[in-house]
């Protein structure tokens, strides 16, 4: 399948932080989840992908073209940042008027349908809206110019679980079209477990992995064992570990193999949270 977004060796240096040669590809018809602790480089990656900051190294192409060389491609990209980007005295109708003037493919009927679907009053000023309503307005605005690629930077963080679930349905509808994809950074890893096809983990500016969610879900496991079992484990079978109060939690890439080898240990399925915590807070095999 053709890549919609291809990021190669993306590097950006700041004082005290470096986004270090991050590479990943987002194919058509899928959702890529970008995870990592605060300050891991998720927002920096998204900003560099969108040319909001200057890259020190690397390349970013959408449909094989750099945005700077093909600015019309921005028509095909919808973006939702963390927080609303419109001044607080604007209303959803005015936001629609502004964006209609910007996008050739702006669809008023679609925008109105999203406003109704998300229960957003068309003439209410943004300053009178809750954080969730603002997030929904941004998502409605991003979808209404009929983009092919959505970039969501913590877009669902202001929503309650019910509304988040509704939004995830919207995103899943969006990627039903094989020409559409989503790059989505989120702290709420359960959301990504529901919808993401790929997970990219960033830690301290470096990409630790980019894998399909199914690989993580069906193969990765957490071995919960005592010191004796931990001592027996082959370091080649271990990705990361962490000493808890009464046990060792060990992230392994092949949980079935671990279940066969370590009969005395409990081997759980690894959630994305488990993987994130063990990689970030635990120690890693060399």
């Amino acid at each position: 399948m053709d890549a919609i977004l291809e990021v190669k060796d993306l590097t950006k240096h700041y004082d005290g932080f470096t986004l270090d040669h991050v590479s990943f590809t987002v194919p058509g018809g899928c959702i890529m989840g970008l995870i990592g602790e605060n300050g891991a480089g998720k927002s920096t990656t998204i900003k560099a992908v969108l040319d909001l900051i200057h890259r020190d190294e690397g390349s970013v192409t959408f449909w094989g073209q750099e945005l700077a060389a093909a600015p019309d491609r921005k028509e095909d990209i919808g973006v939702v940042f963390d927080g609303i980007n419109f001044y607080e005295t604007l209303t959803p109708v005015q936001v629609g008027n502004i964006l209609r003037a910007a996008y050739r493919r702006w669809d008023d009927r679609l925008y109105k349908s999203y406003l109704e679907r998300f229960s957003l009053p068309a003439h209410k000023e943004i300053r009178g809206m809750s954080k969730g309503m603002k997030a929904k307005l941004c998502i409605a605005a991003a979808l209404s110019h009929r983009p092919k690629f959505l970039i969501l930077d913590e877009a669902t963080s202001g929503l309650d679980p019910v509304m988040r679930d509704d939004m995830l349905d919207v995103f899943l509808e969006f990627v039903q079209d094989e020409e559409h994809s989503i790059l989505m950074s989120s702290h709420i890893t359960t959301d990504l477990e529901k919808v993401a096809d790929y997970i990219t983990l960033l830690h301290q500016g470096r990409m630790l992995f980019c894998k399909t969610k199914d690989e993580l879900r069906y193969h990765y496991g957490v071995v919960r064992c005592g010191a004796a079992t931990f001592g027996q484990m082959d370091s080649a079978d271990v990705l990361a570990w962490r000493k808890e109060a009464y046990q060792w939690d060990v992230l392994v890439p092949d949980k079935e193999k671990a279940r066969r080898l370590y009969k005395n240990a409990v081997v759980d399925d690894a959630t994305i949270d488990d993987i994130l915590l063990l990689y970030v807070k635990g120690e890693r095999s060399k």
């Binding site: 900003k47 969108l50 040319d51 909001l52 900051i53 200057h54 600015p71 019309d72 921005k74 028509e75 990209i77 973006v79 940042f81 927080g83 609303i84 980007n85 419109f86 001044y87 607080e88 005295t89 604007l90 005015q94 008027n97 502004i98 964006l99 209609r100 003037a101 910007a102 996008y103 050739r104």
Partner: protein, 215 residues
């Protein structure tokens, strides 16, 4: 680009009433002391400074990164600010012309007739030019230093064009060219063109600064 201008007009719309109130109060205070011409220039300058306020709104909303992901170029974003500046200058200038002119006639500064209208029209052109020239400097200052620090530096925005005008006047005087009333009228009539040339130069400076900006 139309979307960028529309956004600023919507945003500033909420300040229109308070700006109108300020301009009316100024009419009462300024026309009797500085005359209709001074008031007219003040109206245009005050309205032009609303361009800086639009930057403050943009900062508060985090608009600029959003604008950059829209199908517009960085140059268009800067150009939109200059268009908004031109709109604000024109609105302020026309208001000043109307209110200042009426007050001038009522207070006897002018007597109704072609000469008074011509004089007011020339002053209106000069007022627009002063306001646009000041605003033109303010925009790159905002891109370089941010909206709040740029407000402080607006004095510079006033001093640079004023110093240039004084320098031109000084050069003419040193060259022994007397500045007659007719020449002054021609200069005032041409001042919007000079302001546009100045604005074009400042636009290039602003584009250069904004091209390097990270959002």
């Amino acid at each position: 680009m139309k979307s960028l201008v529309l956004k600023d007009l919507y945003n500033i719309g909420h300040n229109a009433k308070s700006m109108l109130f300020i301009l009316v109060v100024l009419a009462v205070g300024l026309v009797p002391t500085s005359g209709a011409g001074g008031y007219m220039i003040m109206c245009a300058v005050l309205c032009s400074m609303m361009t800086v306020t639009t930057f403050t709104f943009d900062d508060m909303a985090g608009w600029t990164p959003y604008a950059l992901v829209m199908p517009v170029t960085r140059r268009e974003i800067v150009l939109a600010k200059y268009l908004v500046l031109a709109v604000f200058c024109t609105v302020g200038d026309l208001f000043g012309l109307a209110a200042g002119g009426v007050c001038g006639f009522v207070m006897g500064e002018y007597t109704v007739g072609p000469q008074a209208f011509a004089e007011l029209a020339v002053l209106a052109l000069a007022g627009w030019a002063v306001a646009f020239a000041m605003g033109s400097v303010a925009i790159p200052l905002v891109y370089r230093f941010g909206a709040e620090r740029a407000r402080v530096l607006l004095l510079v925005a006033f001093l640079i064009p004023a110093a240039l005008c004084a320098a031109v006047y000084g050069l003419l005087w040193a060259a022994g060219v007397p500045v007659s009333e007719g020449m002054l009228t021609v200069l005032l009539c041409a001042s919007p063109l000079l302001a546009l040339v100045w604005g074009a130069a400042m636009y290039r400076v602003a584009c250069g600064i904004f091209a390097r900006a990270e959002c």
